[in-house]
């Protein structure tokens, strides 16, 4: 393939990846605690030898996806009224104990299990300062304070473990709204808890749709470019190949 086709191909692959990431954002528009992602591209320069009748070096500029950036801004806080729906305001994560080790989440939709443990929808216990949190039926209505203090009818029952990280962008997504990391979890200093609320996904529909149209149009532009470059070759072959 010639350079024009290769350059087009590098952009087309990047466009496909952009659309995949946008599709995942749109699909998760109702997932509590979901953080929108965007693809970052970088230019890859390649120096080629100049053609015979040209001077100086030629540079080809390919495009390559450098990484996916997570937008860590807070989502809207929506009221649900469920006593174990918790939203974190500010930077911080809930700690969850899973069979694969400690995981972190911003999706604060929790429930009780048969043993009275506070668990996620997958049944993994939510961690408090002293391990999993148990609520007895006699505790009555449970209230969560802004600092994570859990109290029932019979007084304080414990405190939610809210953690934060030096580099939250490094957290790896595990699916099921969970993150994993090798970083050490420190206490969250700026986070405050709100009960009966859920943090909705921070995906902004208008941004995603307009971004999607933008990607589609530039993809169309590259295919047009590809078509004309192929047309150019065809004409060249026809003209040059004609016996005069």
């Amino acid at each position: 393939m010639d350079n024009a086709s290769l350059l087009n191909l590098s952009y087309q692959l990047a466009a496909f990846r952009s659309i995949d990431v946008i599709a995942n954002n749109v699909a998760n528009v109702s997932t509590p605690g979901y953080k929108r992602e965007s693809v970052r591209f970088e230019e890859v320069l390649e120096h080629v030898k100049p053609a015979e009748d040209q001077k100086g070096s030629q540079t080809l500029s390919f495009v390559k996806d450098a990484g996916i950036l997570r937008d860590l801004s807070d989502g809207r806080i929506e009221q649900t009224g469920a006593p174990f729906d918790l939203a974190i305001n500010g930077s911080g994560y809930f700690a969850i104990q899973t069979s694969a080790g400690e995981r972190y989440t911003r999706n604060g939709h929790f429930t009780l299990n048969a043993d009275g443990l506070v668990v996620t929808e997958d049944g993994d216990p939510v961690l408090g300062d002293g391990g999993p949190i148990t609520i007895a039926p006699d505790d009555g209505d449970i209230s969560f304070g802004a600092d994570g203090t859990i109290s029932g009818k019979q007084g304080q029952l414990g405190k939610m473990r809210l953690v934060d990280f030096a580099n939250p962008r490094e957290l790896q997504k595990q699916g099921n709204s969970l993150y994993s990391t090798s970083q050490n979890a420190g206490p969250a200093t700026t986070a405050s808890l709100q009960q009966g609320m859920l943090e909705s996904s921070n995906v902004q529909p208008i941004v995603e749709i307009s971004r999607m149209i933008e990607v589609m149009r530039s993809y169309e532009a590259t295919t047009t470019l590809e078509k004309s470059s192929s047309e150019l070759k065809r004409t060249a072959i026809q003209k040059l190949g004609t016996v005069q």
Binding site: V21, A27, N28, P83, T223
Partner: protein, 262 residues
């Protein structure tokens, strides 16, 4: 191109959302109905490039990785166990639970069902039964000659018989609670049954610690909030449309690709 399948998971999720909302709206006037909500979670991620991986010999690290998502899934449809408003009915055998607890009724197969719908009636034998004719447990029989029936907030059922001045106690209603009432399985007919997720039933006297009280001549309305349901419905519909727009866009791009060779 995975955008097509990702958007499809989004459409399926929003469809579930609309179905749950439709069921809530349909049950707006169902006694003791608890609104449901669909809970969503993101699907697994494919790791293409890990954040924090080395990008050179000198130990510089990649600031961000590439993780490609696969869409969304419905993790659960859960019940909001908040109380509904108590509405006065002036009907002797209507009972509402104010606070925690369920009435226990015996299902035709001999097992126990639980309900917050206290719209009771008397059977031909004078037993307190639900609208379906299932006996309320523990069984309470009201004498046919009784002139008035009073149910106290603590569940004591007393009747006044003709030519007697003192009231007579004919039974004591019980309430049942669960460690996790959201885990109960809805059976239809306003009945729930125990599951391994709800935990075992714990019976108690109304008004004792951790149990609600009984309000005679009241019924608990459903806790569906029409305004919030309608706004959720609009949001779900828009999200559905957006996902279908993603499919159209991905399709257009694929068509462009197919046309390249022509």
């Amino acid at each position: 191109m995975r955008a097509l399948s990702i958007a499809a998971t989004g459409m399926v999720a929003q469809q579930t959302n609309v179905e749950v909302i439709a069921n809530n709206l349909a049950n707006m006037n169902t006694t003791g109905y608890k609104a449901q909500r669909a809970a969503f979670q993101d699907l697994l991620y494919q790791n293409v490039q890990a954040a924090g991986a080395q990008s050179s010999d000198t130990g510089t690290l990649l600031a961000s990785g590439i993780q490609l998502g696969a869409g969304v899934r419905t993790a659960a449809v859960y019940r909001m166990t908040t109380a509904g408003a108590l509405t006065s009915t002036s009907n002797t055998y209507d009972m509402a639970i104010s606070g925690t607890g369920y009435f226990r009724v015996q299902l035709p197969d001999g097992t126990d069902g639980y309900t917050r719908d206290g719209n009771f009636q008397l059977s031909a034998e004078g037993q307190l039964v639900t609208q379906q004719g299932y006996t309320v447990q523990p069984g309470i029989t009201i004498p046919t000659s009784a002139t008035s029936v009073t149910v106290s907030t603590t569940g004591l059922v007393q009747v006044t018989l003709p030519s007697q001045t003192a009231t007579q106690t004919v039974g004591q209603l019980e309430l049942t609670r669960f460690p996790n009432e959201a885990g109960l399985k809805a059976q239809g007919d306003n009945l729930y049954t125990e599951t391994s997720s709800s935990g075992g039933p714990q019976a108690g006297v109304p008004g004792s610690t951790g149990y609600g009280t009984i309000q005679q001549e009241f019924l608990e309305a459903s806790n569906v909030d029409a305004v919030s349901e309608i706004t959720s419905l609009i949001a779900a519909q828009r999200a559905y449309e957006m996902n279908s727009k993603v499919i159209t866009t991905a399709d257009t791009m694929l068509q462009e690709t197919a046309k390249l060779g022509s």
